[in-house]
Symmetry: C2
Subunit: 317 residues, 2 copies
């Protein structure tokens, strides 16, 4: 990054702070691309600690993540809050896909200046979405958004982890098909601060609520937060219980040291993802082709090969 | 792992080589759990180089991955081949979820001794699914399976990458909704060795084929393989063109050095994933809480924090 670009970066940060959508969008693109000099931008942004309420929304395809996200945007807008949406989900209507009805519901927000919607692809970038999503959140916070909704599809390790580092993580389920069990298997349930059975007007909603409550009773939350199970029919805008649970969570975060602890967890995930991304690049470049050949042909097992690669890396200047 | 366990491990490997399903299942569980002493098992397995035809099947939710996988199982079984299925997809009927019709289709295979079906959760394990899937493939190869189908949901970076390291990666699409564009955005298209427009009896199939062909014409395959675009109606068992494309791919892999190159790529991904997993653990343990606090409160940016963590790691004994 040249000094001209750097001046540009600082001016972008200033304009983002004033809430200019194009500046916000451009900064997030830099994060996604892993542009050189990004550390400078992040340093400038870093001076402002996070103040937004960051809500992760996750769940398997078809449970109504985008519809719920859209309804939450509406609820917070009705309170006059500025809302940012980050969709880490290629199947989300926020990313341009999905059904027409969903798209129309989104459009009412896309013309609202108090709403910023961003789809993140984040492929190939250092540290992946585990690093770039917290950075995008940081940019939205600096730009003065009060609430940031992060929608991730509840499949894929990194995607679930990203949702799990929000201030409040909503895990959505839908009645039927042993959804609770599926979610547990996919490791989604354990990241939930609030479990919400959507499409609660359908048959089997009560059974799903019972099933999920039973699963919750088997574990316990280490930080003392009691995970509530609520219901919603997001497609009809019936999300009052979910919003109430989110309010309760926000109030709880304000007590004691809870918010700081959660933010530290997010920062830890971000730092480790960035550092690991760098090491991965270094290791991939340092890997001798013969070593891969030896593993491919069965002359050496992959664990021993990984040990050798790590030993060489340690010895490297 | 005690020496008794180790004897157990060797006997398991022997029994897996004789094709005993329980031994195969248990070894894969060890891989998933990242059991200590796994290196021994892998070393014993490693002596047998891979001989199975490994086919990755990926695509967005709803394009018919499981139905296609099931139809492929049927096609290879009709040729007398032994088929292993690894489902890295919590929404797959192979993992116990999904629609009743799909489940019934699967059941015909679940009672067939020539078919081994395994759903992998692979959470938390060292290196994640990027490391554990190649190892599960290795176990199935050692157990004498001729074809290994790996079904992954086409969302999530690691999941797409896993499918991409197969000998042949089939990217499934369905007509309508700009699926090709969605797939390109999610980074699925680029891993495809064969693109298959499923549900080709629906409106818009021809348009999707044209769209995908156009996208392909923009790039080129570095190894000289010409990526074909075929159509299927897997739910009706109409997958002849897909099978023909897979046969052509298998023949091409037999020429020159193609298969060895592809296997080396898979070994590279496996080694780097295992090594990176170890480093990630080390870094997460070494991360000073103050550093995370400093990032959370904005006193230092995450890039600088990652640099500091890496520098400390290098200095560590």
């Amino acid at each position: 990054m040249s000094s001209a670009d750097l001046t540009d970066a600082r001016s972008l940060v200033d304009r983002a702070r004033q809430g200019e959508p194009r500046a916000v969008a451009r900064l997030i693109s830099w994060v996604e691309d892993g542009s050189p000099g990004l550390a400078e931008v992040m340093a400038a942004l870093g001076a402002a600690p996070g103040t937004a309420y960051v809500i992760g929304v996750t769940g398997a395809p078809g449970v109504g993540k985008s519809t719920t996200t859209s309804a939450l945007v509406g609820a917070y807008r009705a309170r006059g809050k500025r809302v940012g949406v980050i969709a880490v989900d290629p199947t989300s209507p926020f990313s341009g896909g999905a059904l027409l009805g969903d798209r129309i519901r989104m459009q009412q927000h896309s013309t609202d200046a108090g709403v910023f919607i961003r789809s993140m692809a984040s492929r190939g970038h250092l540290g992946g979405i585990a690093a770039s999503t917290p950075q995008a959140i940081r940019i939205l916070e600096a730009a003065g958004f009060d609430v940031v909704l992060v929608e991730t599809v509840g499949v894929g390790q990194s995607e679930v982890e990203v949702a799990g580092t929000a201030d409040a993580t909503v895990v959505l389920l839908a009645p039927g098909m042993g959804d609770g069990i599926q979610a547990a298997k996919a490791g989604i349930l354990e990241v939930g601060d609030i479990l919400c059975v959507n499409k609660a007007d359908r048959d089997g909603a009560d059974a799903t609520v019972r099933e999920v409550r039973h699963m919750l009773s088997l574990g316990s939350s280490p930080d003392g937060w009691q995970v509530p199970v609520v219901t919603s029919v997001a497609a009809r805008g019936e999300i009052d219980d979910l919003v109430a649970a989110l309010d309760a969570r926000q109030a709880w975060l304000g007590e004691d040291d809870h918010l700081r602890q959660r933010r530290r967890l997010r920062a830890e995930a971000e730092i480790v993802a960035l550092a690991t991304g760098r090491v991965r690049q270094r290791l991939a470049q340092a890997l001798p082709p013969e070593l891969a050949d030896d593993v491919a042909s069965g002359r050496i097992d992959p664990y021993s090969a990984a040990d050798r690669l790590l030993a060489d890396d340690r010895m490297a200047p």
